[in-house]
Symmetry: C2
Subunit: 185 residues, 2 copies
């Protein structure tokens, strides 16, 4: 098989909220609604490149942790999201050998290989080009998260339709479009 | 067939640059490099909802008109992009019957039907939910462009693989992933 792909972190279950997170959440939740939006989240997440996380990354993550699908998260979900970002940060730092805050082609390749994917060098180049909005030939932590989550989602959708694990699926137009739009961020 | 889908506008050929565009481009091109980035483009495009076009929309459009794939566009490409946005704006306004600057479910459904698609009401709901970052149950012009371009791209990719026009394709994992990541924005 050419695909495998590891996932980690959980969006389920009860999570203990730390005092640090309580303080942080209160600062972000300006209208005291008990929930924060992607825009409020954005102001909380630095990408290590002198910028906040992208709109895309914030929207993606709110969507992952927002159980009620309202486009907002409560404090429990915020703690889960925080843990999730930290776990990704650990992976990212493990491959960012020069500690530059961004990872290059060879580092991305190593990261995806460790996750169980086998991609050609051309495909890795394509992934960088696709993610790298600022043309730096490298990707930041938020771009890395978006990319990995996208690959995981498409892999999962493919796998569900590949019962025989043959590496090829048969798919109808509406299903194709749903998967494509649903998994993309 | 369940899919058809119209496209319009051209990203090819020589385009006459108007004096208005020349002036506008000069304002945006702050470093006088003769090319503008997605970030510079963003400051030029209002979405009629008191906001600029999203990062996603700007990145998508730069990608469509940037012939050299440098992530920037020159003045000719800017004029082409401007014409393209205006054409979409014409479509959008045609369906925004209450002139609210955003279109709702029924209006989106009518727009996509006119483009040759036949989608179920559930699918239209899903499209709004997918695009509507601010939970207004409606989509703005930039979200509309992103959505239509995405649908068009996935439809085109599907069609290329559906030689018999049977409405079902057989697709391998790497090809699937390339299509999914390449067409998504």
């Amino acid at each position: 098989m050419a695909y495998s792909g590891a996932t980690f972190g959980s969006t389920q279950g009860h999570i203990q909220v730390s005092p640090e997170i309580q303080k942080w959440f209160a600062t972000l939740d300006r209208d005291h609604s008990g929930r924060i939006t992607a825009t409020e989240l954005k102001s909380a997440l630095a990408n290590g490149q002198g910028s906040t996380f992208s709109d895309t990354a914030c929207k993606l993550m709110i969507g992952m942790f927002d159980k009620e699908k309202k486009g907002t998260i409560d404090i429990q979900e915020f703690q889960a999201l925080f843990n999730y970002v930290n776990a990704w940060l650990g992976v990212f730092r493990g491959f960012d050998h020069d500690n530059s805050g961004s990872i290059q082609e060879s580092e991305l390749s190593a990261a995806l290989t460790q996750m169980g994917y086998r991609f050609s060098p051309e495909f890795i180049k394509f992934l960088i080009q696709k993610s790298d909005f600022n043309q730096h030939q490298s990707i930041s932590i938020d771009q890395f998260i978006v990319l990995c989550v996208q690959i995981q989602r498409f892999t999962e959708a493919f796998r569900q339709r590949d019962a025989q694990q043959s590496g090829t699926i048969s798919i109808a137009f509406e299903d194709f479009l749903s998967v494509a739009l649903n998994c993309s961020v």
